[in-house]
């Protein structure tokens, strides 16, 4: 069995942090189902699961025609009242028959896509991680995307985010095996993750992927802000003004592994050794803080020694 999914991560389109009291309405995508909110160690809200039916070809690295039928599970989360993530995934299994069954058969197996015919997990995984052209194969990303749009369009959001930012797309595949994780940073907004886990699949794997996507987005976004600030090239006050939104909105959100099941914690830790997400984050944060310190110092000096 292979599990594959896509997490989209972006900045919530609101000028201020969205308070806990508004999170339930923003993420209340399913009447009669509660938004799950946890406050420790960071405010995190999770929408109910939504289902989307699909019947299409699955991505295949070998260009094989593999038809799958079933439902995709999606959910949306907001971390720290600032970062929104929309995540969709499917478990791919082999169908017992070669033809499509009544729809209720698939509805009874939420999040499962049954392959009609032959398929190799490795071929599917490679095909999926290749980010092929849209419009031919299963497109879990379009479901995440749609969900994200719905959340961003919530009535209580003012659509005036403190800075412009780009959404990232993290595609992941998971299978059981010797525990391990591989993270590949793409050129643009694309990220690829391969996970092997012990025992049965559980949403803990999904939690891990979302946590990776969240921290990769934070790092990506802060890097862009720091690059744009033109430290050393632009006047200090201008640099500080460009860095300020990051300080206000992002710096306190870094908490890798905060909501990860202990059994998967070693996978995060292995990514901390190489490439070392936190190491890079720390060095960026120090750079940002140094700029503020230097700018403050310059202002103080100007006050004490007016020109």
């Amino acid at each position: 069995m292979l599990i594959m999914g896509e997490v989209r991560t972006g900045l919530l389109q609101n000028s201020a942090e969205v308070p806990e009291s508004d999170l339930s309405s923003v993420l209340g995508l399913l009447a009669g189902e509660r938004v799950r909110i946890s406050r420790r160690p960071i405010l995190h809200a999770l929408s109910p699961d939504l289902l989307t039916g699909v019947d299409c070809l699955l991505p295949s690295a070998a260009q094989a025609k593999i038809r799958g039928v079933g439902t995709v599970v999606s959910r949306c989360s907001i971390t720290g009242g600032r970062v929104v993530q929309s995540s969709s995934y499917v478990r791919v299994t082999k169908a017992e028959t070669g033809h499509r069954l009544p729809w209720s058969h698939y509805l009874a197996r939420p999040g499962v896509i049954e392959v009609l015919g032959k398929a190799a997990a490795a071929d599917l995984a490679d095909g999926f991680l290749a980010f092929g052209l849209p419009g031919e194969h299963l497109d879990v990303g379009s479901i995440s995307d749609r969900l994200m749009d719905t959340v961003q369009a919530a009535e209580s959001l003012d659509r005036a985010s403190p800075f412009r930012s780009t959404q990232t797309r993290l595609r992941w595949v998971a299978a059981s095996g010797e525990p391990g994780v591989r993270f590949v940073l793409g050129e643009g907004v694309e990220r690829r993750v391969r996970i092997t886990y012990e025992g049965e699949f559980s949403t803990a794997v999904l939690d891990l992927c979302e946590d990776l996507a969240l921290h990769d987005w934070l790092l990506t976004t802060l890097l862009v802000i720091v690059e744009r600030a033109r430290i050393g090239a632009a006047p200090r006050a201008e640099v500080s003004a460009r860095l300020a939104p990051a300080v206000d909105a992002l710096l306190h959100l870094w908490m890798p592994g905060a909501r990860i099941h202990p059994s998967l914690a070693p996978l995060w830790e292995s990514l901390e050794l190489a490439p070392g997400f936190t190491r890079q984050w720390q060095s960026l944060v120090e750079r940002v803080r140094d700029q503020f310190a230097v700018n403050t110092l310059a202002l103080l000096l100007r006050e004490t020694n007016p020109v």
Partner: protein, 314 residues
């Protein structure tokens, strides 16, 4: 070992008490009411033998013959209101008694829109997962925007095609689960008007079926709890509880299966209901509860929901 948990982050699902079968012995519309008590008596006279058959059938299936069969009656108070509960309910009871028929529960159809503050129709609408036609790769425009639900692919319409492109030829619609030929069904679920959303009769009938199957939950709680009634009924329909227990000795309102004894004029509505029910996603945890309970009773339930819903058309 240390543990930390937060109540708001957890999910708890109540389970429903269940009969073996819920039999709907009638459905009262304005036009039926206008025909008077005799008409009701005639209807119940037709229903009684079928109810007996159902009882016998379940007694044979259940170990020890302890079949739990509950009966219910639905009053339409959505599409044109008439009279008052104080007048209508005793009339229904009397007509049933005359035929030796006990009505255990009485429900208002408007309860399927919203009951005790729970928007049941919206709850079900949010759980529709449309049957995807072949080549559905991901997101597509959903029922939630159009208010229509089909069992296949509609006939394509030449709409906003770009200029200088020829008009499309007519193409037939197609049923997803067709066997050679299609029987294409397209159901209007609601209409949005100046006074808000008006739910269609088949949609409310689908909610009614799901309620009787005990498969709906609101934030993990059971949404409609039958209220025991005495002999007096209110003068306003709004004051009548959504589901009233008329028989204190009745087995639970919800059941593993449902059986509805209906006039043939409801055939189309029920075809629409089945089209809807086969595209509703029920909480897997709730389905699991029902599955476990039935397994404990050594019953085999049909895997598909629509197969737990049966009818007698008279």
């Amino acid at each position: 070992m240390t543990t930390f948990s937060e109540v708001t982050a957890e999910r708890q699902i109540k389970s429903a008490p269940l009969s073996h079968v819920s039999v709907e012995v009638g459905h009262l519309y304005l036009e039926d009411y206008q025909l008077g008590a005799d008409r009701l008596r005639e209807q119940f006279a037709l229903v009684t033998p079928w109810l007996e058959t159902v009882r016998r059938d379940w007694r044979a299936r259940v170990p020890g013959g302890r079949a739990r069969v509950s009966t219910c009656f639905l009053i339409d108070d959505c599409f044109g209101r008439f009279s008052t509960p104080a007048e209508v309910v005793p009339m229904i009871r009397k007509a049933a008694d005359d035929n030796g028929l006990t009505i255990d529960y009485l429900a208002r159809e408007s309860a399927c829109v919203s009951a005790d503050g729970v928007p049941l129709a919206k709850l079900v609408a949010d759980r529709l997962v449309p049957d995807p036609p072949p080549d559905t790769r991901g997101w597509r425009r959903s029922t939630s925007e159009t208010g229509w639900l089909a069992n296949g692919v509609r006939s394509p319409m030449p709409r906003s095609g770009q200029a200088m492109r020829g008009p499309l030829r007519w193409e037939p619609p197609s049923q997803n689960a067709k066997r050679g030929h299609s029987i294409f069904v397209d159901v209007e679920l609601w209409k949005d008007g100046p006074d808000g959303r008006v739910w269609s009769c088949p949609f409310l009938a689908s909610v009614w079926q799901l309620l009787r199957l005990g498969l709906l939950r609101n934030e993990g709680e059971l949404p409609v709890q039958p209220v025991s009634a005495g002999d007096a009924f209110p003068a306003d329909w709004d004051e009548l509880p959504p589901v009233v227990r008329l028989n204190p000795a009745a087995t639970p309102f919800s059941a593993y299966t449902t059986m509805s004894v209906l006039s043939t004029r409801f055939l189309q509505v029920e075809l629409a209901v089945r089209t809807i029910l086969s595209q509703v996603s029920v909480d897997p945890e709730v389905l699991g509860q029902v599955q476990e309970r039935s397994a404990d009773e050594r019953l085999r339930l049909a895997e598909q929901l629509v197969d737990r819903v049966s009818y007698v058309f008279l």
